[in-house]
C-alpha cells in the first residue's frame, strides 16, 4: 500500500486531528504544507489536487478525501489500526459516531471560534476585541464542558468508551488550542481534568511535537482569558 499524501497546515485544528492519528497509528505519509496565511489553499496548483480548496485533504493511490473526521475513519479502516480507535462492534462504534457528529456544532463552536476571536482576530489581525462574541462563545464552552463532565465522561475513562478512540483525538485537539489563551478546561471539572491528562499521556511526545508551531505563535501574545 502506498503512503498517504497529506495536505495540511499547523494552525488548523482539523489538520492536527489527522496529523495526530497518522503519527499515533504509524501510518506512512508525506506532509505537504499548504500555508493558509499565504492563502495557498486557493492557489491554482492546490486546486488541481483538491478542487474544493480546503485542508486537511489526503490523496491515497489517486483517491482524494477531505473532512478530517471522514479522513480518520477511512484511515482507521484502510490501515486496520487497533480496534479501539474506531471499534468494529456496531454498538461501540455508534457511541463513537455519536460524539463525532455532536462535535461539529458543539465542541468546535466553543473552542475554535473562541480561539480565533481572542488570539487571531485581536492579536494577529489587530481588530478590536469583539466582547459580545467572546462572551457568547465562553457560554457555549461552559455548556460543552458541562456535557463532557456529566455525560461523555460520566461513566467512562474516555469519550463513551473505556479505551481511547478517534473521538478523543478530535476533542483533545479542539480543547488544547484554548490552553494557549490561558484556559484550563479541567479547573473545576474533575472528569474532564482526568480525561485530558489521560489522553495527552496516551498520545505521548507526538502530541507535543504537533503543537510546537502553535505554541511558538501564541507564546508572545501572553493571553490569559478569564474562564471557570
Amino acid at each position: 500500500m502506498s503512503k498517504i499524501d497529506f495536505y495540511s497546515f499547523f494552525a488548523s485544528p482539523p489538520c492536527r486531528v489527522v496529523h495526530t492519528f497518522l503519527e499515533i497509528a504509524k501510518i506512512p505519509y508525506e506532509y505537504h504544507t499548504i500555508d493558509l496565511i499565504k492563502v495557498e489553499q486557493q492557489s491554482e496548483e492546490f486546486r488541481k489536487i483538491n478542487p474544493h480548496g480546503k485542508v486537511p485533504a489526503i490523496v491515497h493511490d489517486g483517491f482524494l478525501l477531505t473532512e478530517s473526521i471522514a479522513i480518520v475513519q477511512y484511515l482507521a479502516q484502510k490501515f486496520k489500526t487497533e480496534d479501539h480507535w474506531y471499534p468494529s462492534d456496531s454498538k461501540k462504534r455508534a457511541k463513537i459516531d455519536e460524539y463525532l457528529c455532536w462535535h461539529h456544532s458543539n465542541c468546535r463552536q466553543g473552542t475554535g471560534v473562541l480561539f480565533f476571536h481572542v488570539a487571531i482576530a485581536t492579536n494577529v489581525r489587530k481588530q478590536p476585541r469583539n466582547e459580545d462574541v467572546i462572551k457568547e462563545r465562553k457560554a457555549k464552552l461552559t455548556d460543552v464542558l458541562n456535557f463532557f463532565e456529566n455525560y461523555f465522561l460520566k461513566d467512562s475513562k474516555f469519550i463513551n468508551s473505556d479505551d481511547i478512540s478517534i473521538a478523543d483525538i478530535a476533542a483533545i485537539i479542539e480543547f488544547q488550542q484554548i490552553k494557549y489563551i490561558g484556559i484550563d478546561i479541567g479547573k473545576t471539572r474533575p472528569n474532564v481534568k482526568a480525561w485530558r491528562d489521560r489522553v495527552i499521556a496516551r498520545l505521548g511526545p507526538t502530541f507535543d511535537t504537533i503543537h510546537e508551531p502553535l505554541g511558538k505563535m501564541t507564546e508572545p501574545m501572553q493571553i490569559t482569558e478569564d474562564f471557570e
Partner: protein, 273 residues
C-alpha cells in the same frame, strides 16, 4: 401518542413470519426472526424511535426506517409542548433533542450516527452505507460536511431566520439578517452542487445513500417557506426528483406534518429568492 406496530404476517424485509408473543407485556418490544445466515432463530429488540416530524433530521431517520421496513415503536416527542425538556426524555437523550433511538440497552442521539448504526445493524442494502471503504468514505465526507454547511449554513439557518425565531419565539429578525441567510444558503448550494452532487445521480454516485436522506431533510425544509432549492439548478432539481421517486410514499409520510403547515408558512412574507 405511542403507536405500536404489531407484526404477524411475513416480514417483507426478512422474508419470514415474525412472531409477537401475546399477553407478555415485556416481550412485546421484541420480535423473532429466522436468519438463513446462521440457520437459527434470533431475537432482536425493536428500535424505539423518538421524533417530531417538525425536525429535519427526524424526517431523514424516519424515511430510512420506513423504506427499509425496520420495525420500530414510534415515540412522538412534541417539541411545541416542550416534551424534549422533560426528565423522562432526558433519560433517553441527555442532549434533549430529537431524533433519538433506544435499541435494547443502547441509547443513541445524532441523526447521522443513528443512520450509520441502523444501516450496519440491520444489514440494509449496501448502497445505503456501502462496505467498500472508498464509497463509504465519500459518504462520510458528505455527512460530516453536512452539519455546519447544509444544516447550519443552509436549511436550518433559513428556517431559523424566517420561521422559528420570528414566528415561534417572537424574536424579530432584520431584513439584512434574512438576506444574509439566503445568500449563505445559495453559497452552500453552490458547494453542494460543485463538490458533492457534481454530475452524479445521487451524492455518492449512481445509487441513493444515507447522505441523500440527510440532504433532503435540510434542503427541502425551505420549500415550506417558498424557497425551492431546485430553482435555477437543474442538477439539484433532478436529484430531488430521483430521491422522491425512490422513497415514494415514505417521502410523503415523513413530510406530512410540514404539509399541514404549508399554507400558514407560505402566507408569511415571501423571501426574495
Amino acid at each position: 401518542r405511542i403507536e405500536q406496530k404489531v407484526y404477524g404476517e411475513p416480514h417483507p424485509f426478512l422474508g419470514v413470519p415474525t412472531y409477537q408473543p401475546p399477553g407478555i407485556p415485556q416481550l412485546q418490544t421484541i420480535f423473532c426472526y429466522f436468519t438463513r445466515y446462521t440457520n437459527s432463530w434470533k431475537i432482536m429488540s425493536k428500535i424505539e424511535f423518538y421524533f417530531d416530524l417538525l425536525s429535519e433530521p427526524c424526517r431523514s431517520v424516519q424515511m430510512f426506517l420506513d423504506v427499509n421496513n425496520i420495525p420500530y415503536e414510534a415515540k412522538y416527542v412534541d417539541l411545541s409542548k416542550g416534551e424534549h425538556k422533560t426528565d423522562t426524555f432526558k433519560e433517553i437523550n441527555p442532549n434533549q433533542l430529537v431524533p433519538a433511538v433506544k435499541h435494547g440497552d443502547l441509547k443513541l442521539f445524532e441523526s447521522v450516527a443513528i443512520l450509520q448504526y441502523l444501516a450496519n445493524k440491520f444489514s440494509t442494502p449496501d448502497h445505503w452505507y456501502p462496505n467498500d471503504m472508498k464509497k463509504r468514505a465519500r459518504i462520510n465526507e458528505y455527512l460530516h460536511w453536512h452539519h455546519m454547511n447544509t444544516r447550519w449554513k443552509g436549511g436550518l439557518l433559513v428556517m431559523l431566520k424566517f420561521v422559528f425565531l420570528p414566528v415561534f419565539f417572537k424574536i424579530e429578525v432584520s431584513a439584512e439578517d434574512k438576506k444574509a441567510a439566503i445568500d449563505t444558503l445559495k453559497e452552500t448550494l453552490d458547494n453542494f452542487e460543485n463538490f458533492f452532487l457534481k454530475d452524479n445521480k445521487f451524492i455518492a454516485g449512481d445509487e441513493i445513500s444515507i447522505a441523500d436522506l440527510m440532504a433532503i431533510g435540510e434542503l427541502l425544509a425551505v420549500d415550506y417557506v417558498g424557497i425551492y432549492v431546485g430553482k435555477g439548478r437543474p442538477k439539484v432539481e433532478a436529484w430531488h426528483k430521483r430521491c422522491k421517486d425512490f422513497l415514494g410514499s415514505h417521502y410523503d409520510a415523513a413530510h406530512k406534518v410540514m404539509e399541514q403547515y404549508r399554507a400558514t408558512l407560505e402566507a408569511l412574507p415571501a423571501p426574495d429568492y
